[in-house]
């Protein structure tokens, strides 16, 4: 998070001498707009002019002490004429300005006054800003839940150090045989194998499959099958494994996807998580689900729809297991074809993950056919919608929408456009607290959900890439373990340089909260090469 900037000497002097009286008087003159802007207006400033040159075209500043208006060229003059009149406010923007420092200055007390004016002006119960600091208890519960999935327990599992081994590879690295166009499944499984809290859950025996009721009655249990799968992969055996049981088990759950046709990896991912949720312990009806899938992957999205007339904001919260992002192409969304973008044409603009996330959280004007019924205005109005992330999950899965549908021509196309992605990701700018704060000019004010103790920093641990067309393509996963990247191409696992990963065409990105990632890597003890087979020459699979 940021720290409040220190006031300059002049602002500090002003505060000592005048306290909040100047701010309070100013509050009545602040005019707010539904879009979150605020400016200073009273009968004198209706047509504001500089008291020295009568100009009205430059930035104008209102002296906090005597309310005289000067333009940017003459603020210094005013300060020289009147001793101590050093602090002014930018009329257009409601921002504090120190004349002697020639710079904008910041004061939380001032921002509070401005925000309170916003809250007074916006319709009550529907302004998108909640100052209450509730919900501490649920936060604590979530943290405890995360700690349960802590890696400390896994340390007990780590063993078997063969002193004769010269080379060693991280635990849990094992090729997966392709059972008939199942690379979509293998690629996602590799990512799940190394999602820190997910992995810990299965490896620390929290899934006690011996007492599983389903298995004892000879029914299929997806969770048990996943447990068996984890045990097999982390056993130390390097020969490629065939996840046939798991495939069969999954088919039972997602009958509609049961075939040998190529499937979509993202669809499989969602389906598996859904299967885990269904198979898991029935959680209480209200509150958060405590199945491992939700504990690891679920977060919460916030959607704000703001009426452009009065500023009334309708806020809804929805859970998510992953976030699907549209590629940012640098094209301006304006429907007017004449409005050319400043950015160069498609050929040179590089899509980035941050660009996609910016696009996801960008305010979007709802079309005239989607007019929102404003509770305050009691009629349909033009409105703006904005998404943000209310709560981040432990593991964040970002899905890049690489397909275009053309309903008229009834065809779909894959978008091969390259997208650059970082290995370290700070999600702070996309949180609801940041997005809402931004709406009001980044004021220093305690907005709801300013979760200062939860980390927003993530580290990448898996990338699922796709090559080929929509109908026939191939999935490959890159895993980031202990500072080394590994390419997992079905049964073949090879160490690769990070440049290879950066240049790949990503489809699903898996990020883990930084602390969890580093802890997980500490405990991935190297496993010596099995004397039976060289891991780089796996038994040929049926690919």
């Amino acid at each position: 998070m940021y720290t409040n900037p220190k006031p300059c000497k002049h602002l500090a002097d002003y505060k000592l001498r005048h306290g909040l009286s100047g701010y309070n008087l100013l509050q009545e003159q602040i005019r707010t707009t539904p879009s979150g802007k605020s400016s200073v207006k009273n009968h004198q400033t209706e047509i504001p002019r500089c008291c020295f040159c009568n100009g009205y075209q430059k930035r104008l500043y209102l002296c906090l002490i005597c309310s005289s208006i000067s333009c940017s060229s003459h603020t210094l003059l005013h300060s020289q004429c009147e001793n101590g009149h050093d602090i002014a406010v930018d009329i257009e923007r409601s921002e504090l300005y120190c004349v002697l420092c020639c710079d904008q200055v910041y004061d939380p007390d001032f921002d509070k006054i401005v925000m309170l004016k916003h809250l007074m002006d916006l319709p009550r119960s529907g302004n998108g800003v909640d100052v209450s600091a509730g919900r501490r208890s649920s936060k604590r519960r979530r943290l405890c839940s995360a700690l349960e999935l802590d890696l400390k327990k896994t340390k007990q599992l780590v063993s078997m150090r063969d002193l004769r081994a010269k080379s060693c590879y991280p635990l849990g690295l094992r090729g997966l045989n392709n059972l008939g166009s199942t690379c979509f499944m293998n690629s996602v499984l590799q990512a799940l194998l190394h999602a820190p809290p997910f992995r810990n859950y299965f490896l620390t025996g929290q899934r006690n499959h011996e007492v599983c009721r389903k298995r004892s009655s000879d029914r299929l249990c997806l969770l048990c099958d996943i447990y068996v799968f984890f045990s097999a992969v982390f056993s130390g055996d390097r020969t490629p494994y065939s996840p046939a049981q798991l495939l069969y088990s999954w088919w039972q759950h997602s009958a509609n996807l049961a075939s040998y046709e190529q499937q979509d990896a993202h669809e499989f991912f969602i389906s598996v998580l859904d299967g885990i949720h269904e198979n898991g312990v029935k959680a209480r009806n209200t509150g958060e689900c405590h199945c491992v899938a939700h504990r690891v992957f679920s977060g919460q999205l916030r959607s704000d729809v703001t009426c452009m007339s009065c500023g009334y904001t309708s806020t809804t919260y929805d859970p998510f297991m992953d976030i699907s992002l549209n590629l940012d192409t640098g094209n301006c969304p304006s429907t007017d074809l004449a409005n050319k973008s400043l950015k160069p044409s498609d050929n040179t603009y590089v899509s980035t993950l941050l660009g996609c996330l910016d696009l996801f959280t960008k305010p979007e004007k709802l079309g005239s056919d989607q007019k929102f019924f404003c509770e305050n205005c009691q009629e349909r109005q033009d409105s703006v919608k904005q998404m943000s992330i209310k709560r981040l999950p432990l593991v964040l899965c970002l899905h890049i929408k690489r397909f275009e549908h053309f309903p008229v021509r009834r065809m779909s196309r894959k978008i091969d456009r390259y997208m650059q992605f970082p290995f370290c990701l700070d999600m702070n700018p996309y949180l609801s607290s940041s997005v809402v704060r931004n709406r009001f000019g980044n004021r220093m004010f305690a907005f709801e959900g300013d979760e200062l103790d939860t980390s927003t920093e993530f580290e990448i641990f898996a990338v699922v890439t796709h090559s080929g067309t929509l109908d026939s393509g191939h999935y490959v996963t890159y895993l980031h373990l202990k500072d080394q990247w590994y390419k997992c191409d079905d049964a073949w696992i090879t160490a690769v340089e990070e440049e290879v990963v950066r240049a790949s065409q990503c489809y699903m990105l898996f990020y883990a909260q930084k602390m969890l990632y580093y802890k997980a890597n500490e405990d991935l003890v190297c496993q010596p090469v099995s004397p039976r087979a060289d891991p780089f020459l796996p038994i040929a699979g049926c690919c």
């Binding site: 209706e46 047509i47 940017s72 020639c102 304006s334 409005n339 050319k340 950015k343």
Partner: protein, 115 residues
């Protein structure tokens, strides 16, 4: 011959070029006043803001500011510096369609309030 008193340590008040009261408001000023009074100026400003965000101009200016701040060092830059550096670039890079649209709006406003 008597020494001038320098009892007040402040520069003399600036000379105003022309007497304010007798000055005829220029056409530009009249238009400005009319636009503010009718609220049209605020609407045009909102429209301009919207267009400049849509076409990426604001993001472009943001990255110019960031680059300048990085070069000079975060603590060596003031808002005034940024305004001075950015203003010419900003003015020069407003897309023509945006200018055209705003001018058209102003023209139609003038036509509607012609006395």
């Amino acid at each position: 011959m008597s020494a001038k008193r320098s009892s007040i340590n402040r520069p003399p008040t600036p000379d105003v070029d022309r007497d304010r009261e007798n000055q005829e408001p220029t056409l530009q000023e009249i238009i400005n006043i009319k636009m503010i009074e009718s609220g049209e100026k605020e609407r045009l400003k909102e429209l301009l803001r919207e267009r400049l965000i849509e076409c990426g101009w604001r993001d472009e200016m943001k990255s110019l500011c960031r680059a300048y701040t990085r070069k000079k060092g975060r603590n060596n830059v003031t808002v005034d510096d940024l305004v001075h550096v950015i203003t010419p670039k900003g003015r020069a890079s407003v897309p023509d369609p945006v200018k055209a649209e705003l001018l058209q709006r102003i023209r139609s406003f003038l036509a509607s309030t012609a006395t």
